[in-house]
């Protein structure tokens, strides 16, 4: 939308909202307006005429429409589509932890008797944490070349653990594969 369109839209909105009718009342109830907004029950022509004739009802319509948009955008903020991260420093051998850029995921590396292990950890404060834990969501971690590092369902603590699948140690491997990694929803 260009600047003039935005300005004219603002003007039109203001003109609509500024109108007053003496002894105006709420001509349609919230249930009717919400059903029309949701598209479940379109307004009848008489209801549409009532909406246009009552600036007060139109203002209530605006309030409900904006509240609905806010709820929707809050819900989409909570939805998670994936997080990416980078290998920050030139780590040699001693890479213990990587974090995604959004800070909600961390990837830990532990050296055991049988070799390296990686542990993915979800920050419980992440806006999408509750939904992922409730669903025991499947997640997958890939390196910069798209190869699977680990994948599976998160446990109740928001963790996922697996043996390190590559020959090179984590620091060397990530450096060779573009120094990037991704955490994404979906089965391995």
């Amino acid at each position: 939308m260009n600047a003039m369109d935005r300005l004219d839209r603002k003007l039109r909105a203001r003109l609509l909202l500024e109108q007053r009718v003496e002894d105006d009342r709420l001509a349609l109830d919230d249930a009717t307006l919400l059903a029309a907004l949701a598209g479940t029950a379109p307004l009848t022509p008489a209801q549409a005429a009532a909406l246009k004739a009552s600036p007060l009802t139109l203002r209530r319509f605006r309030q409900l429409a904006l509240e609905r948009r806010q709820t929707q955008s809050a819900a989409s903020d909570r939805a998670w589509r994936g997080s990416g991260g980078m290998l920050r420093a030139a780590a040699h051998g001693a890479l213990a932890r990587l974090a995604t850029d959004d800070g909600w995921w961390s990837l830990h590396f532990v050296r055991g008797a049988a070799g390296w292990h990686s542990v993915l950890q979800l920050d419980p404060l992440a806006p999408f944490a509750a939904a992922l834990l409730r669903e025991r969501a499947q997640v997958r971690v890939t390196d910069g070349a798209g190869a699977l590092v680990l994948g599976g369902a998160l446990d109740a603590d928001g963790e996922l653990e697996a043996a390190w699948p590559f020959a090179d140690a984590p620091a060397v491997h990530f450096q060779r594969q573009g120094a990037r990694f991704m955490v994404q929803p979906g089965a391995a």
Binding site: K10, L11, E22, D29, L43, L56, R59, Q63, A65
Partner: protein, 378 residues
């Protein structure tokens, strides 16, 4: 007092009222008053009055008094005064009442505004005008915010109950000095600190029967009959209905608690304040798609088409000036007066259009009327 959506019910109202009075006295010159008195020119006088008043209020916006907060949502005194001035323009019936009151004064004494007491008289009429208007505006705001019916009189009743609670709380706090009236309110003799004084932690904890007994006791202890005991019909709906009083007290109390924890739930004009228009067009579009709907001939389909023909730049800018104000982030820089950084004044725009200010104002108002009619069509 705070209620959902209301803006004019807090301490700052006094300042808003005073600023409106002061700026109105500046702009209501004798010639304008004469036009306001005459039914033939009253509408034109309203338009001129609101324009000049808005300019005067804009000038106050950055001064100490105008910039002070007038409510707990952070609206300034000047902003609220300006919003009320815009409301007046949209409510010609209120202006008619004001101009009828002026005309009556003029009928009694054609030279009344040259008299020494003219300012006081005018201020009184302006106070009446805006006192009515603020409750109309807030009852609308309340309905928009919560979807429940309301009326200006109901807003007035909420305010009376809020005031009554404050008085009762004061009496309870000083129960020793007001032993007899506190006793009348509680319906028993008070000999020690009443437990009710500690229980009254807010308006939500105030009991309807205390309000009723307080009002009844005012005749004997106060300056005259209490609000529920006058001959006025104003609070007729509440008389003898403690349950209604209790529900209203609870509502004020609940909202006070709620709004104390919310920072400005007020819907600001954000980045895409017009997004709801898409919803409106969609909802109205679904109606016309429904069977049995006949599209009316001659409805303007494209709203902007109505803007374009015959609308030269001065007129277009005058419309923005009127509706969105002299400064708006969306204005392209070449529209702005380099000196002020704002849109040119009406005077300057009229000069650019090559017509007199009244003629230009009339053209602008006519164009606005067409736009308003077109705006509803989507």
């Amino acid at each position: 007092m705070r209620l959902p959506g209301t803006r004019y019910q807090e301490h700052g109202w006094e300042q808003v009222r005073k600023l409106l009075g002061e700026c109105s006295l500046e702009v209501l010159t004798p010639p304008l008053l004469a036009r306001a008195c005459d039914p033939a020119t009253a509408a034109e006088a309203l338009s001129a009055y609101v324009d000049d008043l808005a300019a005067a209020l804009h000038a106050h916006a950055r001064r100490t008094r105008g910039a002070a907060a007038a409510n707990s949502y952070g609206d300034s005194v000047a902003e609220l005064a300006l919003a009320l001035a815009c409301e007046l323009r949209a409510r010609p019936a209120d202006w008619s009442a004001f101009s009828a009151a002026l005309a009556a004064e003029y009928g009694r004494d054609p030279a009344f505004w040259t008299r020494a007491d003219a300012a006081g008289l005018l201020r009184k009429k302006l106070n009446d005008l805006y006192a009515v208007l603020r409750d109309k505006v807030d009852s609308d705001n309340y309905q928009v915010a919560c979807g429940r019916p309301c009326s200006p009189n109901r807003i007035y009743a909420y305010r009376m109950l809020d005031m009554a609670h404050a008085q009762i709380a004061r009496l309870f706090d000083n129960w020793e000095a007001n032993r007899a009236q506190v006793g009348a309110i509680l319906g028993r003799e008070v000999t020690a600190t009443p437990i009710e004084a500690r229980q009254l932690t807010g308006i939500g904890a105030c009991r309807a029967e205390w309000i009723e007994r307080w009002s009844a006791s005012q005749e004997g202890f106060g300056d005259g009959p209490g609000p529920l005991h006058t001959k006025s019909k104003r609070f007729e709906a509440l008389k003898g209905h403690p349950e209604k009083i209790q529900a209203m007290l609870a509502e004020i109390g609940e909202y006070e608690t709620l709004s104390a924890t919310l920072d400005a739930a007020w819907m600001q004009d954000g980045e895409d304040a017009g997004a709801w228009l898409d919803d409106l067009d969609r909802v109205l579009g679904e109606v016309s798609a429904a069977p049995g709907y006949e599209e009316q001939e001659g409805e303007p389909r494209d709203w902007l088409d109505c803007l374009a023909p015959g609308l030269d730049e001065p007129l277009r800018l005058a419309i923005y000036l009127k509706v969105l104000g002299p400064a708006d982030d969306s204005y392209p820089p070449h529209w702005l007066d380099p000196a002020s950084g704002e849109l040119p004044t009406m005077q300057a725009l009229a000069a650019r259009a090559g017509v007199s200010l009244p003629t230009f104002r009339k053209r602008r108002d006519e164009a606005l009327e067409r736009l308003r009619a077109a705006g509803e069509q989507g």
